[in-house]
C-alpha cells in the first residue's frame, strides 16, 4: 500500500482531487443557500447578494470542469505508469482491475465529465437568456453532480489505498481475451455482424442528426457508443496493435502505439457527450443546439475514419486482413 501512495503521480492526483472537492464543497453550500432563498422577483439586498454568489459557483464549476478533464487524462496516465509496480499488470487494464473500486472509479469519472459538460451547456444558454430561465434546473443539476463527485473522491482514496503490490493481477489478455468457448460480445454478435452494426449505426446517427430527428438520434447515439466500444476492443484494436489476439482498451494509450488511444477514445466520448447534450437540451428544454451537434458529428466521423483507417492501412501494407 505504501508503495502506491508514494508514487508521484498518485500523490499529485489525490492532492488535486482533494482541492477540487474542497472548492466544490464551498460551491455546494452556497448553492443550497441560493436554492432555499432564491426569489427572482425580489429586489432586496439579499437577492443581489445571492446573484453575486451564483457567480462564484459558476467560476468554481468552470475551473473544476477544466481540471477534471485534465485529471482524467492524467489519471489514465498515472494508472498506466503504476503497471510496473503491480505484479502481473502489463498496462492500465491490470491496475484498474487490481480491486473492485477501479472500474467503478473510471465509470464515475466518465459520468461526471458528461454531467459537467451538460451543466456547462445549460449555463451558457442560461446566461445568454438574461433572465435565468434555467436557474433552478442548473442548481439541482449541480447538487447531484456534487453528490457524485463526493462519492468519486471517496472511491479515489479507497482505490489507491487498496492496491496490493504483492497480489498478482490479471493482465489485459486474460481480462479481455476470450473466455474459452464463450463469446465476449453482447447480444451474441459475431465480429462480422458487429462491424455491420457499427457502420449502420454510424449512418443512422448521421442521418437522424441531419434530418433533426432528436429521439432517434439519441437512441442511435447510445447504441453506437455501446457497439463502438466493443468494436474497438475486439476488432479495430487488433489492427492498432497489429496482433489478432490482442484485445485491450488500455494498451493503445501507451507510447508503443503513439498514444493513439487518447485520440480514439477522446473522439468517441467527447463526440457522444456533445451529441447527447444537444439532444437532451433540445428535447428537454426546447432550445436549438446546432453547434454542439455539428461538432459531435465531426468528432464521431473522425473516430470512425480513424478506426477504418487503421484497418485500411494494414490491408494496404500487408495485402491481408488479420
Amino acid at each position: 500500500m505504501s508503495e502506491i501512495l508514494l508514487s508521484n503521480q498518485v500523490i499529485v492526483y489525490l492532492l488535486s482531487e482533494s482541492i477540487l472537492f474542497g472548492l466544490l464543497l464551498i460551491a455546494f453550500i452556497i448553492t443550497l443557500e441560493i436554492l432555499i432563498k432564491w426569489d427572482f422577483g425580489s429586489y432586496s439586498e439579499q437577492q443581489f447578494r445571492l446573484e453575486r454568489r451564483a457567480y462564484l459557483v459558476m467560476t468554481i464549476l468552470l475551473f473544476v470542469f477544466v481540471v477534471k478533464f485534465l485529471l482524467l487524462i492524467y489519471f489514465v496516465f498515472a494508472i498506466d505508469s503504476l503497471s510496473l509496480l503491480v505484479p502481473g499488470a502489463m498496462c492500465a487494464a491490470g491496475v484498474i482491475s487490481a480491486n473492485d473500486y477501479g472500474m467503478l472509479l473510471l465509470l464515475l469519472k466518465l459520468l461526471i465529465l458528461f454531467f459537467l459538460l451538460l451543466w456547462m451547456a445549460i449555463n451558457r444558454y442560461d446566461l445568454q437568456a438574461k433572465n435565468y430561465p434555467l436557474f433552478r434546473i442548473k442548481s439541482w443539476l449541480f447538487v447531484s453532480i456534487f453528490l457524485v463527485i463526493a462519492i468519486e473522491t471517496g472511491v479515489d482514496f479507497a482505490y489507491f489505498g487498496h492496491i496490493d503490490t504483492l497480489e498478482p493481477v490479471n493482465c489485459c489478455s486474460t481480462l479481455y481475451g476470450q473466455l474459452e468457448g464463450a463469446n465476449p460480445l453482447p447480444f451474441g454478435l459475431n465480429t462480422m455482424i458487429l462491424l455491420i452494426l457499427f457502420y449502420l449505426l454510424y449512418v443512422a446517427v448521421m442521418a437522424s442528426a441531419l434530418s433533426s430527428q432528436r429521439v432517434s438520434f439519441m437512441v442511435a447515439l447510445l447504441l453506437f457508443v455501446f457497439i463502438a466500444y466493443y468494436s474497438v476492443v475486439y476488432f479495430f484494436g487488433t489492427y492498432i496493435y497489429e496482433l489478432p489476439t490482442h484485445n485491450c482498451p488500455f494498451c493503445m494509450l501507451q507510447k508503443e502505439y503513439y498514444y493513439v488511444g487518447y485520440l480514439v477514445w477522446g473522439a468517441l466520448f467527447v463526440g457522444t457527450y456533445l451529441g447527447l447534450i444537444s439532444s437532451v437540451m433540445e428535447i428537454g428544454l426546447k432550445v436549438e443546439r446546432n453547434r454542439e451537434r455539428m461538432v459531435a458529428l465531426a468528432l464521431l466521423s473522425i473516430f470512425v475514419l480513424l478506426c477504418t483507417g487503421f484497418v485500411a492501412i494494414y490491408y494496404l501494407r500487408n495485402g491481408v486482413f488479420l
Binding site: E3, L5, L6, S7, N8, Q9, I11, V12, Y13, L15, S16, I19, L20, G22, L23, I26, R52, Y55, L56, T59, I60, F63, V67, L70, L71, Y74, F77, S81, L84, L85, P87, L127
Partner: protein, 392 residues
Amino acid sequence: MRNSPFFHFLTLEFFKERKKHMGVIAISLVILFLLSSVLFISSSIRYSLEQTLDQEPDFVVQRIQGGERVSVPTEWMDRLLEIHGISSVTARVYGRYFFKSKEKSFLIVGVDFMDEQSHKALRTIMDEVDLREFLKGDNMLVGGGVSHYLKSHFYPKGYTFLTPKGAFKKVHLFKVLPRESNLIANDMIIVPIELAQEIFGMNEEEVSDITFNVPNDDEWANVEDKISSFHYDLRVITKNDIKKAYENLYNYKGGIFLILFLITIVTFVLILYQRYSMVYSSERRHIGLLRALGWSINDVLKLKFFETMMVVIVAYILGVGLAYLYVFVLGAPLLREIFLGGANLHNVITLVPVLNFGILSSIFLIYAVPFVSAVLIPVWKIAVTDPKEAML
C-alpha cells in the same frame, strides 16, 4: 486576437501593475524550482537505470542459506545449459571488499573477458584499451570513486588485497572507468574472473551466482517454475523484480519529498489567498470604474482569470527552465547528494536530460491547481464589485 481591445487592455494592465505580480512570481519560482529539480534528478537517474536494465540478464540464479546469498557450484550451470530455450548462461563473481575496518567498501566484479559480449562492451567504454596487456598480469579497471579513494590513501598505482586465506594479492591499477559510467561503476573494481575468485577466497568450482537469458518472453514463467525446482536452496530472480525495486526506490525518495512538499504548498496557498485578498481590495475602485463603463461581471472574471493564468504560466516556464539549467546543465550540485547518499565512496554522476509528459504535467498540476484554487475566491470577490464603488 492581436487587435482585440480586451487583450490589449489585459496586457497593458498586466505590465502596468507588474509590481503586484512580481512577489507572487518570485515565491512561485522558488517552489517550482525546488520541486522540479528534485523530480528531474530522480527521473534522470531512474531513466539511466531503466536503460541499463536492458543489458541486465533476464534471470539470476542464486543459492540461499539462512537468507544470505552463498557461492554456487559451477555444476549448476551444466544443468541450466541442457534446458531448451535458455541462452547465454554466464557465471558472475562479485562481492564487496572492505577497505580496512568497515569504513569504505568496493564492489569487486569478475568479468570473463573472453566472452564476446564483455569484449564488445569493453570496447565501447574505452577505445584504446589493450586487452592482451590487461590480461597479462594482475590488473584491474576501477570506477571513479575507487580511483579517487585509492589515490588519496596513497595507493596511486594499485592495491594489495588480503584474501581470506591470508595471502596478499597485489593488483595493478590499469585504467579508470570513464566518469559518465559513475552511476553504476563508481565503487566498482573490474578484474578478470579468476582473480576475483582468488580475492574472495573461492575455489575454481565456485561462483557468486549464475545469469541467463530467455529470449522468448512467453516462456519466462515456465522457465522460472522449472528452474526453481532444481534445488531447495535455489532462488530465481527475474528482471521484473529488479525493475520493481528501482521503481519503489524512486517512489520512496521522490514521494517522501512530495509529501513533505505538501506542507509548503499549503503554506503557499494561504499566502496567496492573503496576498490576493489584499491586492484586490485595493483595486476596488478600479474595477468599479470598469463596471460603470459597462463591463459585465463575466468580463471582469475573464480579465482576472487571464491575469492569473499569465502569472501561472510565466512562473511555470521560468521555474522549470531554471531547474533544467540547474540540474542538467550545472549537474545539480548539493541537491543530488540527497539521492546518492554519503556513507561510502563519494559519487559524482552525470545526469542525462530527461523530460517527459509525466513529470511536466505532475509539476504543473501540483502547482497550478492549488494556485488557481487559492485565487478563485478573491477574484470573484473583486469581480462582483458594484459600479458605485467608482464614485467613492
